[in-house]
Amino acid sequence: MGLGAKRLLLNLLAGIAVVTTVAVIGIGLPAINDAIPAARPAPAGRYSVGAGVSIVPPPGAGLDATKTRPGPLNGTALFVLGSVRYAVVVTPFDGTLAQAAERLRAKISANAGYQVIGGKRPIRTTSGVLGQEGAYSSPGRDGRYAVFLANGLDAEVTVAGNGVELHDVMPVVQASIMTLSFGKEPQ
């Protein structure tokens, strides 16, 4: 093999090594990640969503570890019950409850095919925090939403699933939403 051909071969092999490394990172790692289930049993007792906000998950709920991100100033938790997705998102917010509720409704409506339906109703947690709740529809699924405001934090709750399954789990989910707390709770 001539020197030129040898150099070309080495160049090709090195280039393939670069491409392979990129592929391992960009395709291989995500594939490994996808092969490992995300849902874990939700911890027993009160679960800290973030920024001091906590909630008691419904009995038997799983926790999607990849969509759950607790933090000191904000947080997200995603619980799963069968095909029902129950999300709690906590962020800093300096507006009113009405503005927070309108923001959540706007976020829901911004998704293609999603529509807020019915009116809004006041709701209060067992610790006395006032909020608003309502319903929405999406392609093939129904949804409920609730929003609470306290201590400069906005807790947005959304629950979505197919009609029958959502109807079946909604009582335990509603009970869980009522346990939402913006501070320390006695255990």
């Binding site: 070309l8 090709l12 990172i25 790692l29 995500p30 926790l63 991100r69």
Partner: protein, 431 residues
């Protein structure tokens, strides 16, 4: 005229006679690079398209701000690289790798690693330590591959450790600009107030000014310098060169880890100013180390190329004082200002042209003097202009010292930036 100085032991290995840009097209690695750039451009196009569709005004502001943000970095990097400028096409390739390939691949890789940490350890651990574990490993490998690919397609253009640092810096710059755009648009979405430019501007101050000073550009410059050491210093053993290269990449990962880690995240409990202090503590060591490295590498390169001019011993080509001026950007600018003071704009232009012609001649000599006569004549032509202006020596003024007002202005600017960044930190809730 041929160079007698390009021995295998020299820290600078000039591009050999006959090296041509078109030879890169014959290399398989070049076409693999084209493929990767195309895939990266397609992926990034989807991201940009979604951003502009959802937040057109904020996305446009982000594109303009972070595009302009790159300009001073480019000017500075090209100034550091003054004596032997890297080909614009290769520099653009390095930046394109950073912006198109490294970012889009890192998005997928980082997300996967953080998800794996959340699943295998806990979501809280992934939130706190995920950015410090995923990004340094994933991103520094991807960015270093950008310098590697430049070596594969144009090995003969990597002439010194400084060249590797320059290519690494441009890979990092491309990565930084695109990443910052994505962060800015994400901030708009998180704010939940529609298509507003406010979160973009806050992100610009935080990530552009504060993080930009000691972030991807610096980390990749360090890694790139290591790659270039492996390529250029062939008088050293392979194991030593490999060790240095690995240590350089590991160093980049370590600095990135420190920057992303939650250490000192609470700012000692003193709010925005405490957070600003913590960021300075985390970033300054990397800035200092890499500044010293680049300064040493630039000095080695200057010794080599200015030595070519000194060997001519021709004051019409370059006087000893002019050789001293050519070493640093600040002295070159001081010489141009002195010429402007004495001869106005034509004098400043002539000094600039002389400096460029001298650098071009030095590089040509190192590469075997293919265009020696033309380069020499160019220097002599500008020299004649300077003599006609009554400013024959393109140096700094007698007794020249660093301008103290420059330091004052620099400190004042840094203070203003620090205040703006502290305000930005507050606006983002202290994070």
């Amino acid at each position: 005229m041929t160079s007698e100085r390009s021995a295998a032991s020299a820290p600078v290995q000039p591009t050999p006679v006959g090296a041509r840009q078109r030879y890169s097209f014959e290399l398989p690695a070049f076409w693999l690079l084209v493929g990767l750039l195309a895939v990266g451009a397609w992926q990034l196009g989807k991201v940009f398209g979604a951003a502009f569709q959802q937040f057109p005004m904020a996305s446009a502001v982000a594109a303009v701000l972070f595009g302009l943000y790159a300009v001073p970095f480019v000017i500075f990097a090209r100034s550091v690289d003054f004596l032997e400028k890297e080909p614009a096409a290769l520099v653009a390739t390095a930046a394109a790798w950073g912006g198109l390939v490294a970012t889009t691949t890192a998005i997928a890789g980082n997300g996967a690693v953080r998800d794996l940490l959340a699943k295998e350890v806990s979501p809280a651990f992934a939130t706190t330590w995920g950015p410090a574990i995923a990004a340094p490993f994933i991103e520094e490998i991807l960015k270093t591959l950008g310098v590697v690919i430049v070596v594969l397609i144009a090995r003969r253009q990597i002439n010194s450790v400084l060249d590797g640092a320059v290519y690494g810096a441009f890979v990092g710059l491309g990565f930084q600009v695109v990443e910052d755009f994505i962060y800015a648009v994400n901030a708009v979405g998180i704010a939940g107030r529609g298509d507003q430019a406010g979160p973009v501007i806050v992100t610009f101050f935080l990530r552009g000014f504060l993080a930009g000073l000691w972030s991807h550009t610096l980390f990749s410059a360090l890694a790139g310098a290591g790659v270039a050491y492996f390529v250029v210093r062939r008088n050293r053993s392979r194991s030593r060169r490999l060790t240095v290269a690995i240590l350089a990449v590991a160093g980049a990962m370590a600095f990135h880890f420190i920057w992303n880690s939650p250490l000192l995240a609470d700012g000692f409990g003193y709010g925005a100013w405490g957070i600003l202090l913590a960021l300075l503590i985390k970033g300054i060591p990397a800035l200092l180390l890499i500044y010293l490295l680049v300064r040493a590498a630039r000095g080695q390169e200057a010794d080599f190329y200015l030595g070519e001019l000194a060997a001519l011993a021709d004051p019409n080509i370059a006087t000893p004082r002019e050789l001293a001026v050519l070493r640093t950007g600040s002295k070159r600018m001081a010489a141009r200002r002195y010429a402007y003071a004495r001869c106005g704009r034509p004098g400043r232009t002539a000094v600039r042209d002389l400096q460029r012609a001298q650098a071009k001649l030095a590089v040509d000599i190192s590469r075997g003097g293919e265009n020696y006569e033309a380069c020499r004549n160019q220097v002599l032509a500008v020299r004649a202009k300077l003599i006609a202006f009554g400013h024959p020596d393109a140096t700094t003024p007698p007794g020249h010292r660093r301008n103290p007002w420059g330091v004052v202005i620099g400190v004042a600017t840094a203070a203003v930036v620090a205040i703006l960044v502290a305000v930005a930190i507050n606006a983002l809730g202290g994070r």
